[in-house]
């Protein structure tokens, strides 16, 4: 996956988070999706009525931890980019360029 640690791919995603992506970005996204769940993020609904990204614990069926939010919904570009950047950090061990 290291060959995909390419700032151009991060830029492409930020430019257009939805819809068709280049073959290389599509491959990176699929690889990001396929990594083990533990430590990744998921959307949750807060008691405040907003959506938040929460980290899935390493030990199954233990506490989820909020990591960013609030968001009005999960559908916007800002939300997609927030989720993408979390995945980038998890896969490459550093912040997305």
């Amino acid at each position: 996956v290291r060959e995909f640690k390419d700032s151009a791919l991060a830029e492409e995603f930020r430019r257009a988070p939805r819809g068709e992506h280049s073959p290389r970005l599509s491959r990176l996204l699929t690889m990001m999706q396929a990594t083990p769940v533990a430590g990744k993020t998921a959307w949750v609904l807060g008691e405040d009525g907003a959506y938040w990204l929460a980290r899935i614990p390493t030990e199954p069926r233990t506490t989820l931890a909020l990591v960013s939010g609030p968001f009005e919904d999960t559908e916007g570009d800002v939300q997609a980019i927030a989720s993408f950047e979390e995945r980038w950090q998890a896969v490459f061990g550093e912040a997305a360029p």
Binding site: K40, V44, L45, A54, L66, T74
Partner: protein, 711 residues
């Protein structure tokens, strides 16, 4: 920063299915209020229209009740009643085999205990994974942690000279060095039962549950005479382990630990407990096993004022609403011509699944970051609700046994278009079409066989009748053999064998042997069910192929969008004219729906006909689906080798077939072969080609006029 929204009002009904006049007991926990409000609602519509689909019924049970916050007593163990035989003041020797599966759980796990708290006997795992013997206030601990999933022979001794010792020897060659430890111990026997895989705490509750397997537990006195032993190789269906030795005290298994698993002597020469029970003399305990929540009944719901249908106890407490479904059947002498067969085995199999937070498959399938609503967020964080058949236990071992005597958060009439939530599209079609129907359940057919189906002209399945017991299969065959008509309105059906113990019908077992589309698989050597001893896995692999019963069988799955069906030339056969009446055969069928983003009546999991696999030779393949996307893949059992043409955009075998055939005695079968079929019923307020075709079939199938096979 806020809190994550989770569920605080939980409940379960027992049983799930009753005949009009019988009672359903309702068990509730509410964490944020000291009262809950109950309404009995009849569920008549789909999940998108809760306000009109849940119709409150005037019912004497409706009202406000005191609420309590209740715990779930999960964790399996064995309890052996107190006896003077256990006191053994002259000394004793305790020997057993253990296979810890989470030795480093981070908290103590008891393996054998007697006496509460720091008194008496305790053999177990310390927080750091070392095994230890505690006698009174003295702890004799091994030097190094044990390995996970490795068998060890353990011997603990105590003599009346106050000497204690602990010996741990690995089973098998080339493993680690044996460990021995000993020391003086001032031990006084403590009264009370012996527990295996748990201990009683100072507060009197059972805790310190153990993840792992135990075998050949024996207690000898100082003279080497066998005082107690518990036979884990006998009668795997039972919750009792026969007691041996002079005491002959049986052990009672609590919370349904896993049996019919290889013991320390298993060498692969046998694969079934019946072949050599000595190879299957172990029990696997889990900290998250749960057979029965055991909550007191808060309400006893009368059903004599109800007619057959899908109902729910609608609970409201502290501003939160939870629906707990139950099913009401008609008495034998008042059955309508049509019955909807609720797939309760599937509902139970999926119960409390936490797939989005345990498997990447959910994200890969949806190609988006998972969204955890309050139910999923609760399931992601609570192990005590016990895993589904789609999960592994907290020690990573597969989940084989599930129970309906616990709150099942995703068994709901709201917000989840899967299993029951998907079947409500079918219920809504019947209601909106003014078609009278009864509801029966898988569990009824399992228990009563053909009697549960007798009197019905037509039985409709749900969208995903995936789990079928031998008794259910036999009942359906009997029904079809006597003129019954079956409409299989789903996909990936009649797929896995399940079993229920006769004396504990709330339990269900499934072992995914060999192959199949599965999120978890049975461990090697564990392919036979503990309940009944049958070989587990795909029906296709145990001599009963779904194609023989319903004309189609699992082809594959995908999760982005479905596809329409296209009518084959055979659709113009007069034998099937009743099916396609009023439908344009030159147009795609079901190019719409609520599955995925773009709909498509053939989607999610789809089934195809195959004459070589048992589709009756006179079957008419009315329509076939396609093209499917590259995100669809053939089921593993459909291909002996993976290659670039296994995906839906290119694999010709990856399709749903809509099939019709007649059966002896005037019966017939129609199968749609798609989970997404039901999700296409609601389009245009249930006025569309899929809904019309479904109604056509039902109207003909409830007509007494017999079908005539073409032979």
């Amino acid at each position: 920063v806020t809190q994550i929204r989770t569920k605080h009002v939980l409940g379960y009904c027992d049983p799930w299915s009753v005949v009009v006049g019988e009672r359903v007991s309702l068990h509730v926990s509410s964490e944020r209020s000291d009262e809950f409000h109950l309404e009995i609602v009849r569920v008549e519509g789909d999940i998108d229209d809760v306000d009109s689909s849940e119709r409150p019924i005037p019912h004497p049970a409706s009202g406000t009740y005191p609420a309590h916050a209740r715990d779930l007593p999960s964790g399996s163990y064995a309890v052996i009643s107190d006896s003077p035989a256990w006191d053994l003041r002259d000394g004793w020797e305790l020997s057993l085999f253990i296979k810890p599966t989470t030795p480093d759980l981070g908290k103590p796990q008891a393996i054998v205990s007697r006496g509460a708290g720091d008194h008496g006997l305790w053999l177990g795992m310390l927080s750091d994974g070392r095994i230890a013997l505690r006698l009174g206030d003295r702890v004799l601990a091994a030097a190094t942690p044990l390995r996970g999933y490795a068998w060890y022979s353990v011997v603990a001794r105590w003599s009346d000279r106050h000497d204690g010792s602990l010996s741990v020897r690995p089973v098998g060659r080339w493993s680690e060095r044996p460990q021995e430890t000993s020391g003086r111990s001032r031990y006084e026997p403590a009264a009370g039962p012996i527990l295996l895989a748990a201990a009683i705490g100072d507060d009197g509750t059972v805790g310190q549950h153990f993840n792992g397997c135990l075998a050949r537990v024996e207690l000898n006195d100082a003279g080497g005479r066998l005082i107690g032993s518990w036979d884990m190789s006998a009668d795997h269906q039972s919750a009792l382990l026969p007691g041996g030795g002079s005491a002959k005290q049986a052990a009672h298994l609590v919370n349904a630990p896993t049996r019919s698993i290889p013991g320390p002597s298993w060498d692969g020469t046998v694969h079934a407990p019946s072949q050599d029970p000595a190879h299957y003399d172990a029990v696997h305990f889990h900290v998250d096993d749960l057979e029965d929540a055991g909550w007191p009944a808060d309400v006893s719901i009368e059903t004599d004022v109800l007619k057959s249908g899908v109902y729910a106890a609608r609970l409201t407490s502290a501003g939160e609403t939870t629906t707990v479904p139950f099913f009401v059947r008609s008495p034998r002498d008042r059955r309508r011509p049509l019955a909807f067969l609720a797939s309760t085995a599937s509902y139970l199999a999926y119960g409390n699944s936490s797939m989005p937070t345990t498997s990447p498959i959910d994200e890969i399938s949806s190609q988006s970051t998972p969204l955890l609503g309050p139910i999923a967020a609760t399931l992601a964080q609570r192990a005590d609700v016990a895993p589904s058949l789609y999960d592994v236990h907290t020690d990573g071992s597969p989940s084989y046994v599930v129970s309906r005597r616990r709150p099942i958060l995703n068994h709901t009439t709201r917000g989840y278009r899967w299993v029951l939530g998907a079947d409500l599209d079918i219920i809504a079609l019947l209601e909106r079409s003014n078609i009278e129907y009864d509801v029966i359940t898988d569990e009824d057919v399992h228990r009563e066989g053909a009697d549960a189906l007798a009197g019905y002209r037509c039985v409709l399945t749900g969208a995903h009748p995936e789990y079928i017991s031998t008794e259910m299969w036999d009942g359906l065959v009997d029904f079809l053999g006597h003129g019954g008509r079956l409409v299989y309105l789903g996909g990936n059906g009649f797929y896995w064998r399940v079993s229920h113990p006769a004396d504990r019908p709330w339990l269900m077992e499934c072992r995914r042997a060999e192959i199949g589309a599965r999120y978890t698989e049975a461990d090697m050597g564990s392919y036979y069910h503990q309940f009944g001893g049958q070989y587990g896995g795909l029906w296709r692999n145990v001599g009963r192929r779904p194609q023989e019963l319903v004309g189609v069988g699992m082809a594959g799955d995908g999760w982005d969008d479905g596809a329409p069906y296209w009518f084959n030339d055979e659709a113009r056969d007069p034998r099937v004219s009743f099916i396609v009446d009023g439908i344009d055969l030159d147009q795609p069928l079901g190019a719409h729906g609520k599955f995925g983003k773009g709909g498509g009546a053939a989607g999610a999991e789809i089934d195809r006909a195959d004459f070589a696999l048992g589709t009756p030779p006179h079957a008419v393949i009315v329509a076939s689906s396609g093209p499917h996307s590259a995100s669809y893949f053939q089921a593993p059992e459909e291909t002996s080798f993976l290659h670039a043409a296994n995906s839906g955009d290119v694999a010709p075998m990856l399709r749903a077939d809509l099939v019709f055939f007649e059966t002896p005695g005037g019966g017939a079968v129609v199968s749609t072969g798609s989970i997404a079929w039901a999700a296409s019923l609601p389009t245009n307020h249930y006025d569309n080609d899929v809904a019309r075709l479904t109604r056509n079939v039902i109207q003909r199938f409830i007509d007494a006029e017999p079908f005539t096979a073409p032979w």
